[in-house]
């Protein structure tokens, strides 16, 4: 992150409010202390995030004195794009990928720091720490700069941009162990507690507001559940768990038989779907 700040003109940190973003933000606070963060944080808001996430975001921004930019793709809202009316691929593309590109172009950010990890998904295993995007924000996995030792070449031509991933070499367990060790605040949805959930096709959705078309789902049931990743509430599956502390989560994460992205509905379409999204500019 210090390399990003030293080598770029207008950096930004992408902040998704999730556990990885929380760790990344904490690392940034450490890296630049006692200075304030030398960049703004950007939240691409689809308007479908859990309200607990938004509350948490606003509290953290206040506590740490951050410069927060919230960006929503207004065209998508005007066109009535929602997770219910459109296929998850279309919805994600417009409200996340396109929105991110719009925000980066609008503020002319040249390096965006993101919380992606190489262990999340196969196509991410080939991602660089400093990953280049052409002027259309496209990723070319076959034409990446070699990254040798820990020397990062952040020089770009006009119109190009970089995504920097400081957590590239962290695993999901590393993230939880670090949250535990450093006592980093996280959205309470990661911890199990009794919550009312509805079900459809084996996916358990938390009823977060009255926009959810309840008639499509089973009747609400109160269960002890938690979330492994956080995204848009209608697209994020809860799972039954009694892990109500970080220690419990670490135990559960080490023992789990399901991968992290299992709870994300956006990855199910096809096995190279993440790669496709990345080439188009998702993150």
């Amino acid at each position: 992150m210090r390399e990003v700040v030293a080598q770029s003109n207008n950096p930004v940190m992408l902040y998704s409010i999730g556990k990885d973003s929380s760790v990344m933000l904490h690392l940034a606070m450490k890296a630049f202390y006692p200075s304030k963060l030398p960049f703004p944080i950007l939240h691409v808001d689809t308007t479908w995030k859990f309200h607990e996430m938004i509350d948490f975001r606003d509290r953290i921004v206040r506590d740490l004195g951050l410069n927060l930019i919230v960006y929503t793709n207004q065209d998508g809202i005007n066109d009535g794009i929602t997770p219910f009316t459109h296929d998850s691929t279309v919805y994600t593309n417009i409200m996340k990928t396109v929105a991110l590109k719009q925000a980066l172009d609008k503020f002319k950010f040249d390096i965006a720091i993101g919380g992606a990890r190489r262990d999340e998904e196969k196509s991410r295993a080939k991602e660089r720490v400093f990953s280049f995007r052409n002027h259309q924000h496209h990723w070319d996995p076959k034409n990446q700069r070699p990254e040798i030792w820990s020397l990062y070449n952040a020089r770009i031509c006009k119109g190009e941009s970089i995504r920097a991933f400081p957590l590239s070499n962290w695993t999901e367990v590393d993230i939880w162990q670090y949250i535990y060790r450093e006592n980093i605040p996280i959205v309470p949805l990661y911890l199990a507690k009794p919550r009312a959930v509805v079900e459809k096709d084996g996916v358990q959705i938390l009823v977060d507001d009255d926009r959810l078309p309840l008639h499509d789902y089973s009747a609400p049931v109160v269960k002890s559940v938690r979330f492994r990743t956080l995204g848009c509430y209608p697209l994020t599956s809860a799972f039954e768990s009694n892990a109500s502390s970080i220690e419990d989560i670490i135990k559960e994460t080490i023992q789990t038989k399901k991968s992290e992205r299992y709870g994300r509905l956006i990855d199910f379409d096809q096995s190279s779907s993440m790669e496709k999204k990345k080439i188009e500019g998702y993150f």
Partner: protein, 625 residues
């Protein structure tokens, strides 16, 4: 259970040829260490049916071949990083492909690894690729190697096959490589023999299986015991009360109160505070990212190195280096490149290689340039002095990357072998009478008028007419013409890309010396490459270089063919002829553009003279200078 247990991390690289079973080995390691999740296993079953090469069995290689293009082609495209963990250690695997691009990818993966697993196919034995991978891994300074003799199932787990390979490799390794330890391990990744458990099928092998070995090999952390060095990444200055220097400690230990040296300035000072977020540390170690405060107001910026006083780093601007080239366009001597070493940046020129190394045999070969995936030893000179150590002593202070000054791509990597002393002996002669003084007695502003254009475009003709015109105005000029210079100064040079670049480099410097004499220098060279024109421009100050693009369509130039050269080139008698089989890069922003389809020669000269008058080149210069 210790929830924040910090297990030791081992980073290793796996390299092997296409059918050595490397992806299968990694997939097997992940599977056996129970790191494949159910949903990934479901996907693997689906993919195995679709792309698999193992009939009805799971194809573990598909677990690690991440990109759709490589699944379809059954090859690995780029370095991929895999993660797994056992009770004892965490592992990061740099998985590098063995086909083309092998050298570049192996070097990238090896640069961050502590250990290398080199795969050998038991059926095929030691191949040139095995030696190639070993050489690169050795060059990058990896000390520990596992020679994984895989596919033992295909040779009936025969002890003699194993022994033969061991003996063969051992002999070569002793001669050519500098490894501290080599572990020979017979295995079958496909069937899981000797991976996580000792195999029953190879009772003759009594040493540890692969995972045991990876979990237990001793890594001596040498960095902590070396002298203290830290690159300053960023100056932390939130207000006038606080100034600290942020960086990650490259080697050694630093304590509050230690005397340190700031390099390259050489100023000595004391550490007053070491900060790690809200904590004030008494001591910090290699690998930690900290912010250091010092006792006084010494000048420190990004690129400086904080160093121990007893054993300070060296400073130089000329080195012997080993370079590995990673780009499709070859390294050309005398061209300007940018290097990054730690947080230092400098412009660099790489001399003609002393030799390149045949990566298949280790032999030294003659070379004029360095091409993709080649390794060569060269002298490197920089435009400023940098702080460094030999790569063998400290990878972070001796390893650098080479960057293209125009498109910013990373072109290659280099390792410093040692500094050259000769730079200490060459000093710029300080002369009191300077170019402005010389020019002022001639009542002109010295300038280089650099003509560029294809052969037969009319450069020399216009240049000579221009000189006559300026001479008649009482101006002192000199014309350097491509053909004339090639008869004398540059008669050792031909027309290959390397020679063209060297040709222009010499001419740029001759022009610059004549500029110092206060002259109006008129040059007429094809100068087909943008980079070299830029290099010539960069030799002088702003406003001292006027690029004149004589734009004549090749059809017209060829129809004139004053020297009969186009005819020879078309007949194939002349190689590397600009416009025929060697490119001409049109200037983007020349100061003067002459469209020769609409101008005659005198009008062209008029255009140039009026440009010179408009910009006050032909009037008396400011005597203050």
């Amino acid at each position: 259970m210790n929830f924040s247990a910090e297990k030791e991390l081992l980073r290793f690289i796996t390299s092997g040829s296409v059918d050595d079973g490397k992806s299968t080995l990694i997939g097997r390691l992940l599977y056996e260490s129970k790191l494949i999740f159910e949903d990934q296993l479901d996907l693997l079953e689906k993919d195995s049916k679709k792309f698999g090469t193992q009939e009805d069995n799971l194809d573990f290689a598909l677990l690690v071949d991440g990109l759709s293009a490589e699944r379809e082609q059954g090859i690995t495209i780029d370095v991929a990083y895999r993660f797994f963990e056992t009770k004892k250690r965490k592992f990061i695997v740099a998985d590098t492909p063995g086909h083309e691009q092998y050298t570049r990818n192996t070097a990238t993966g090896a640069s961050s690894s502590d250990l290398a697993i080199i795969l050998v196919n038991a059926q095929k034995g030691i191949l040139t690729q095995t030696l190639r991978h070993s050489l690169i891994v050795s060059m990058l300074g990896i000390k520990h190697v596992i020679l994984a003799i895989n596919k033992m199932d295909l040779v009936s787990y025969d002890h003699d096959v194993y022994l033969e390979i061991v003996e063969h490799y051992n002999q070569i390794a002793l001669e050519q490589f500098s490894f501290e330890s080599i572990k020979y391990l017979p295995m079958s990744a496909l069937n899981g023999e000797n991976i996580t458990l000792n195999s029953n099928l190879m009772p003759w092998y009594k040493e540890s299986c692969l995972l045991d070995y990876l979990e237990n090999i001793q890594l001596n952390n040498e960095l902590a015991s070396k002298p203290f060095r830290m690159f300053v990444q960023w100056v932390n200055r939130p207000n006038s009360e606080f100034r600290g220097f942020a960086g990650r400690i490259s080697s050694g230990i630093v304590r509050v109160g230690d005397s340190i040296k700031i390099l390259p300035s050489g100023v000595e000072t004391k550490v007053s505070k070491i900060l790690l977020y809200h904590q004030n540390l008494d001591v910090a170690y290699a690998g930690q990212s900290v912010t250091i405060q010092i006792n006084d107001e010494a000048d420190v910026s990004r690129g400086c190195v904080l160093s121990s006083i007893k054993n300070p780093c060296l400073i130089s601007d000329q080195f012997q280096v080993q370079i590995l080239w990673m780009s499709d366009s070859p390294m050309i001597p005398a061209r300007d490149y940018l290097i990054h070493l730690g947080t230092q940046h400098a412009l660099a020129r790489i001399a003609r290689p002393k030799f390149k190394i045949d990566i298949n045999t280790g032999k030294k070969l003659a070379a004029n340039s360095i091409k993709l995936n080649e390794i060569a030893v060269c002298n490197l000179s920089l435009d400023r002095k940098i702080v460094f150590e030999a790569y063998a002593d400290n990878h972070q202070l001796g390893g650098f990357i080479i960057i293209d000054t125009q498109n910013n791509h990373t072109l290659g990597m280099g390792l410093i072998n040692f500094p050259l002393r000769r730079s200490a002996n060459i000093h710029w002669q300080k002369i009191d009478i300077n170019k402005n003084a010389r020019a002022s007695i001639k009542e002109q502003k010295p300038v280089i008028i650099w003509f560029t254009g294809i052969s037969g475009s009319g450069k020399s003709t216009i240049a000579n007419l221009l000189e006559k015109r300026l001479f008649s105005m009482g101006k002192h000029t000199i014309v350097l013409d491509g053909d004339n210079v090639r008869h004398g100064l540059n008669r050792d040079l031909g027309f290959t890309v390397e020679d063209r670049v060297e040709n222009i480099r010499r001419l740029a410097h001759v022009s610059e010396i004549m500029l110092q004499a206060g002259l109006i220098v008129i040059t007429a060279f094809i100068s087909p490459f943008e980079k070299e024109r830029k290099m010539a421009r960069n030799c002088v100050e702003q406003g001292e270089f006027i690029e004149v693009f004589v734009d004549t369509p090749i059809s017209i130039a060829e129809s004139r063919d004053v020297k009969g050269l186009y005819k020879k080139a078309r007949a194939g008698e002349l190689k590397n002829f600009t416009g025929i089989d060697s490119p001409y890069q049109r200037p983007n922003n020349p100061e003067i553009y002459l469209d020769m389809t609409s101008l005659d020669l005198n009008q062209a000269v008029d255009n140039i003279v009026s440009y010179l008058e408009r910009n006050h080149y032909l009037t008396i210069t400011d005597r203050k200078g």
